[in-house]
């Protein structure tokens, strides 16, 4: 009798637990996809790769990319999109603690990719970069974003050039020409202020650092690079001077009130701001409002603040497409990455997105974009990393709050720089 009860207890527990586990395990086996061999070098048969991204809105475009890669006898992607960046980052990190490592996934350059590389989670792509460089498929300077200890990891998913968008009607109404020097840009701004138009857009969150990077890189590119490795202090005279330039622009009323939360694209469309310092992803947002490039709005490269700086500075942001080290289809994913960098894939990319490609051999279908891109990738230009990715996360966290407060209250620049430098000192002391 007792035995009977023990057995029924076990049966009940087992049945209930089995139900529980069955319910939990529904979502497993996401990383894999089809067969494929386990990354033992050499070409792998095309398969379906598990692909993860925080850009959920890009699914239709990736369907088009699948059509292109299928036609080229390459692997295709099984798309899983997240719309919350923080949840996505946590998911990817968790995925590497399981046996379902992602084949392909999008990530962030800078310290965040550095963390993955250090933990040995992403596959090396040095060979892919050598081949792409030989084919002229990558612009000079881009490789810096993907290099850790002399080796490359991941390939560029996309590239964003930070440039100035302007409302052509507002420019015409105020008799303005596209500036080729910083002085001309400032004189345009002054004319606009005199005529009651707000010259520039800026925000006190997410993109609060944009004018800092523009002014510092355009004043002293070496100091801009020096900030990234701690060799230059945020309180060095050249940085203070750049901050004063920004401070003066705010004092002169060159920026929209940071309390305005209307979308920047709407503000540019209505002419509430004449210009917006933005990445080339802004084109898509303006076009979505029905604005026509080169008719309703134009784009120009922002001139250097310091006319003595020889190379024209261009800020470039790039997002990586990474292969999970030890994933089920590692080799097939590396093959796909190699194809991704080439002209065929990038032509499909520009067609699907209407965006620019990092590949200099591929032209954007958008005339305004392709004009400004050929300008900033030309011989007179020097590519700089975007400040956000170029800055270690603990320094960025403090600095973004300081810049946010500076944009909001236009207080004493030095106090903000000292607060940022304190965080930088703490960070570099630990390295």
């Amino acid at each position: 009798m007792k035995q009977h009860h023990t057995r029924s207890a076990l049966v009940a527990a087992a049945a209930a637990t089995a139900l529980l586990l069955g319910a939990c395990s529904g979502g497993g086996d996401e990383g894999g996809g089809g067969g494929g061999n386990g990354g033992d070098g050499g070409d792998a048969a095309p398969t379906e790769l598990g692909f993860f991204t925080d850009k959920a809105a890009w699914e239709p475009q990736f369907d088009e990319m699948n059509a292109a890669s299928g036609d080229a006898d390459q692997s295709t992607l099984s798309f899983t999109g997240y719309s919350d960046a923080a949840a996505y980052d946590a998911f990817i990190k968790q995925a590497f603690r399981t046996n379902d490592k992602p084949d392909l996934f999008t990530w962030h350059t800078g310290g965040q990719l550095g963390e993955l590389v250090e933990a040995g989670l992403v596959a090396e792509t040095t060979d892919l970069w050598e081949e792409a460089a030989a084919n002229g498929d990558v612009p000079e300077g881009l490789i810096e974003n993907y290099t850790y200890d002399g080796k490359q990891y991941c390939v560029p998913l996309n590239v964003v050039y930070w440039v100035m968008y302007y409302n052509k009607q507002v420019y015409a109404d105020n008799g303005l020409e596209v500036p080729t020097t910083w002085d001309e840009l400032m004189s345009n701004a002054q004319t606009l202020v005199d005529n009651g138009v707000v010259p520039f857009h800026q925000m006190n969150f997410i993109f609060e650092f944009v004018w800092f990077q523009t002014v510092v890189a355009g004043s002293d590119p070496e100091a801009y690079v020096g900030l990234q490795d701690g060799s230059v202090s945020y309180t060095d005279p050249t940085i203070v001077e750049a901050m004063e330039v920004w401070h003066q622009m705010q004092t002169d009323g060159y920026f929209i009130d940071p309390g305005v939360t209307t979308d920047p694209q709407t503000l540019l469309q209505t002419g509430e701001v004449a210009m917006a310092n933005f990445g080339t992803f802004f084109t898509g947002q303006l076009n979505a409002l029905g604005m026509v490039p080169d008719e309703d709005y134009g784009i120009f490269a922002i001139p250097n603040v310091n006319p003595d700086v020889e190379a024209q500075q261009a800020i470039v942001e790039t997002g990586p497409l990474c292969v999970g080290a030890g994933s089920a289809n590692e080799q097939a994913a590396l093959d796909y990455s190699a194809w991704w960098m080439g002209v065929d894939a990038q032509n499909a990319w520009t067609e699907a997105f209407g965006d620019v490609s990092f590949n200099p051999n591929v032209e954007s279908p958008d005339p305004a974009l392709s004009a400004v891109v050929s300008q900033v990738t030309g011989p007179d230009f020097q590519i700089q990393k975007r400040w956000l990715e170029a800055t270690p996360v603990p320094i960025y966290t403090v600095a973004s709050e300081e810049f946010g407060a500076f944009v909001t209250n236009n207080g004493d620049p030095m106090a903000h720089l000292e607060a940022i430098q304190a965080a930088a000192d703490a960070y570099w002391a630990e390295q």
């Binding site: 009940a12 980052d89 963390e115 009130d257 309390g259």
Partner: protein
């Protein structure tokens, strides 16, 4: 012999057969206990463990003892978050709870009271983030509220830019959403008050505010305790409205503890520090709830 003992005696013959089912019943309960342990206790213990480590979500957490707690309490940003959180607690008790009570008392006993309270309930159907986005249209520079103030010839303050004003206006926004449900709860409480004592008080000459202060309010106490208790816990973890309106900015001035926890964990990727804030927030919440409920539900205080 006391009554329970007598009952136990009566049940003695049955004890054996009940015992016979004890073991299988453990089997049936085990999965539920296991589930609660896995999804409720384990995460809390794990978070507590993480709060003593340096961890960025990759590799293995590295034990650092109390370093995260030291860093947390020496950070002026945390003090600011704590102060903002206390504003939220006080503001939530005054506004949404106070307004809810006001609405419930005003509409109580009126024909069609439900229809008077209904519109206040509609915003409750929205998520906090959506409320935040909608209200930021109203409160932004040159937004609706600034235009109204401007119409009367005054200069509008920078609602969402200056602290602590931005926290106060966000509390108002959350009252717009939260007052209705409190009114509903208080309405139920008012209906459940027995009529006889009120009628007796009426005969004795009580009416209006005196009636409310001496009769209705004390008899409403059990429900008030629940509403205020829920409000304290809810406001201590204020996140979504602030996230929707200011993201804790500008420059972190409107951050609450819950935002600090989220930002440290998922934006800065300092899981250890984020977990330390989470543990601190949990301790504060539990302590506040226990102290409050102990005081309110103590038998000698019951009416």
């Amino acid at each position: 012999m006391t009554a329970p003992a007598a009952r136990r005696e009566e049940m003695l013959p049955q004890r054996k057969s009940r015992n016979a089912f004890a073991l299988p019943s453990v089997g049936f309960i085990a999965p539920a206990v296991l589930l609660a342990g896995i999804v409720l206790y384990l995460p809390f213990l794990y978070t507590t463990y993480i709060s003593f480590t340096d961890y960025n979500g990759l590799g293995d957490p590295e034990w650092v003892g109390l370093a995260n707690y030291v860093q947390m309490f020496s950070d002026p940003g945390l003090v600011n978050s704590l102060v903002n959180t206390l504003y939220w607690v006080a503001g939530t008790i005054i506004l949404p709870v106070g307004l809810g009570l006001f609405l419930a008392v005003l509409s109580h006993g009126l024909p069609g009271a439900t229809f008077f309270r209904l519109p206040f309930l509609i915003p409750y159907a929205l998520s906090g983030v959506a409320v935040g986005v909608i209200w930021s249209f109203v409160l932004q520079t040159n937004g609706a509220l600034s235009q109204i103030v401007g119409f009367f010839g005054a200069d509008a303050p920078r609602w969402l830019l200056d602290a602590p004003l931005n926290t106060f206006v966000m509390i108002v926004a959350s009252s717009w959403q939260g007052a209705g449900v409190n009114a509903l709860l208080f309405g139920i409480g008012l209906q459940s008050i027995p009529k006889e004592p009120l009628e007796a008080a009426k005969v004795d000459g009580a009416s209006g505010f005196t009636m409310f202060r001496t009769m209705t309010w004390p008899m409403l106490a059990p429900l008030t305790t629940v509403v205020v208790g829920l409000s304290i816990v809810g406001s201590l973890k204020t996140f979504d409205i602030v996230w929707g309106m200011t993201k804790g900015g500008p420059g972190g001035v409107s951050e609450t503890l819950a935002l600090t926890m989220y930002k440290e964990t998922f934006i800065t990727n300092d899981y250890g520090l984020g977990a330390a804030v989470a543990v601190f927030l949990t301790v504060v919440t539990v302590l506040a709830s226990v102290l409050y409920l102990r005081r309110q539900l103590a038998p000698e205080r019951s009416v």
